[in-house]
């Protein structure tokens, strides 16, 4: 328990360190002030410097850093230029959207990934295995934006089954409860599928390999020699052991689903963390960029921690030290 606490404190410091690096990186690197300066011939230097004062960018870097520290300690994580509210609020709003597509994608990729991995391990070397293996690799090799756009082209534009953007219909407020649930469901299908394909492929391959690994171990061979039924060996003895390393993947993939995907959120217009990230970079909203860095690296580190803990729970041989 103490160990876990120590790790958590450690991870907070680590992500804070990362954010500090990014903070200084953004200040040291030469960069244009704001994207506000759209080629507007009426905009003068005078207005620019006023803007800088309004955003507190006229002060020395060190003072800015101290201000930022103060913001962090008050839990605001800084103040976003473009949204005009504390960074933590921006993240809080965005994370809901990211989770709405992230959790189904997580379930989808682990569910299907493990299922397919197990099946192809059972049918190892047969045509089914080869086809599954290859088709997943192919899906994995397609750039995600292209996959998304093709799904939209097929399922929204041509067939008209699934809506292609946002998470709710325009007339959502006038719907009854069941319609609302169904409306959300239809909106989630395409982005979640797009998001889940790549990890699904990786999980399927990983499951298959660990499965084969386990199947080749002596205790399975012993079980076979005892004359146990093939099915029983497979599901009772091999599967639970093979799933241990697969479950640790959960922690490692956590950021993939919960830290938002810039590409998927951009294509399906979901105002989640990924979109927020992209906006903060494109519009040079320093506090937001740094805040998101802090948040995302924290999720990554927590994910790693979870995977370690899970591993220790499922595999008593490994003790946390």
């Amino acid at each position: 328990m103490l160990y876990i606490l120590k790790r958590i404190v450690n991870s907070i410091f680590l992500s804070f360190g990362i954010a500090t690096i990014v903070f200084f990186l953004l200040r040291i690197l030469p960069s244009a002030s704001f994207s506000d300066i759209y080629l507007n011939p009426r905009l003068s230097e005078d207005v620019l410097s006023r803007l800088k004062v309004a955003y507190g960018l006229d002060k020395p870097v060190l003072i800015q850093f101290l201000n930022w520290l103060k913001e962090i300690l008050t839990g605001n994580l800084g103040f976003s230029f473009i949204y005009r509210k504390p960074v933590i609020n921006c993240i809080g709003e965005a994370i809901l959207f990211t989770l709405t597509i992230g959790i189904p994608a997580l379930i989808l990729s682990f569910g299907f990934g493990i299922f397919i991995g197990v099946q192809s391990a059972r049918k190892r070397g047969k045509t089914v295995d080869r086809i599954l293996n290859l088709s997943f690799l192919i899906l994995y090799s397609i750039p995600s934006f292209w996959l998304g756009i093709v799904l939209i082209l097929i399922f929204s534009y041509t067939l008209g089954i699934f809506p292609s953007s946002g998470l709710r219909s325009i007339n959502f407020n006038e719907m009854n409860f069941f319609e609302k649930i169904f409306d959300m469901f239809m909106h989630i299908v395409l982005p979640s599928t797009t998001l889940s394909i790549a990890p699904m492929a990786a999980i399927a391959r990983f499951t298959r390999n660990t499965m084969l690994n386990v199947l080749s171990q002596t205790y399975i061979k012993t079980a076979k020699a005892k004359g146990l039924d093939e099915r029983t060996i497979f599901y009772r003895h091999a599967l639970p052991n093979a799933l241990i390393p697969v479950i640790t993947l959960f922690g490692l993939y956590l950021p993939f689903f919960f830290a938002g995907s810039i590409v998927v959120e951009e294509i399906f217009s979901i105002p989640g963390i990924g979109k927020l990230m992209a906006d903060s970079i494109f519009q040079r909203d320093y506090p937001l960029t740094v805040g998101i860095t802090l948040f995302v690296s924290f999720i990554v580190i927590i994910g790693n921690l979870i995977s370690d803990i899970l591993y220790s729970i499922f595999d008593p041989r490994i003790r946390l030290k």
Binding site: L14, V22, F145, W146, I262, I281, R284, V300
Partner: protein, 307 residues
């Protein structure tokens, strides 16, 4: 080993491709013979170039003979010209059509492949070198050096990669091939470093190293001459994997406006550009799309462990 033969085969194929691709281009990938008339032609289009005796060239989409004249058809106008003025007629075949600027898509795909592969391979090699160096240092010296270097690796691993690339490109104001290669390599070495370190620890524990150390050989000699060759082999396999990954990442960067910029084609920016012209010139992404996925697939297959 079968795997090694595969890798060598693929590597030599890539090198051969990079070397000969310039010589098998049917058209100039940068300059169209005629932007106006050849703009956005679908696949299997044919056009003709009438070379006049006075050196002029007219690009036409169709022509026919009539008495002493040649009647020709261009995109916006038709015309005719006396037969005897013409020296010869060249036929252009655009197997994969042309883009908005009238450039042959096939040639651009071939040329773009060269750039994509160069970026992928060089970046993977640099990552490999960085990863090996860091992994070797950490593994050989252990102790505090190991701790610091591994913590550094953790920090890099903890960063969301795409996000970091965007931040670095956005705030350094450079967007050239070289800077892109460097940034991508700086973000891909962590896996290799861990692998090499683990191998180092394994090899270091072996008997022959202890023997060498007792013979009083300097650290560097032992590390480079005796441990490295043993440790490096298992890590080699990640080079194709990184190559594929870099090629994919470049296409996503192009999609976000941060990749290699035109007029230099890469498979990545060709398909991301095609995404923007999806409804007008649907033929643009077909071959680059197949090739990019095929390459990544191949890279994944050869780095898959034998089962």
């Amino acid at each position: 080993m079968k795997k090694q033969r595969q890798i060598i085969f693929v590597a030599s194929f890539i090198i051969a491709y990079i070397l000969i691709s310039d010589f098998i281009l049917p058209f100039d990938p940068f300059i169209s013979p005629d932007k106006e008339n050849l703009s956005s032609l679908p696949p299997f289009s044919i056009a003709y170039e009438l070379n006049l005796k006075n050196g002029e060239k007219i690009v036409v989409l169709d022509y026919k003979f009539e008495d002493a004249f040649i009647l020709y058809q261009q995109k916006f106008k038709a015309g005719r010209i006396e037969k005897e003025k013409i020296e010869k007629i060249k036929t252009f075949i655009f197997l994969l059509g042309t883009d908005n600027l009238g450039r042959d898509v096939l040639s651009r795909t071939i040329y773009g492949g060269k750039i994509s592969l160069i970026i992928g391979v060089i970046s993977a090699l640099i990552s490999f070198i960085i990863g090996t160096a860091i992994g070797a240092f950490a593994g050989y010296f252990g102790g505090i050096v190991d701790k610091i270097l591994m913590r550094l690796t953790d920090v890099f691993l903890a960063f969301p990669k795409l996000f970091l690339i965007l931040v670095v490109i956005a705030f350094t104001h450079t967007q050239t091939i070289l800077s892109l290669i460097l940034i991508l390599s700086l973000l891909n070495w962590m896996g290799i470093a861990r692998l090499i370190r683990a191998e180092f620890l394994k090899v270091k524990g072996m008997e022959f190293i202890t023997v060498l150390e007792s013979m009083g050989l300097p650290d560097l000699t032992i590390a480079v001459k005796h441990i490295l060759p043993n440790a490096i082999l298992p890590a080699l396999i990640s080079i194709p994997l990184i190559t594929g990954d870099v090629i994919l990442t470049e296409s996503i960067l192009s999609f976000l406006g941060f990749g290699i910029q035109p007029p230099i084609p890469t498979w990545g920016n060709m398909i991301s550009e095609a995404e923007k012209n999806l409804l007008s010139t649907w033929w643009l992404p077909i071959l680059p799309g197949i090739l990019i996925s095929g390459t990544v697939l191949m890279m994944n297959l050869i780095s898959q462990p034998e089962t």
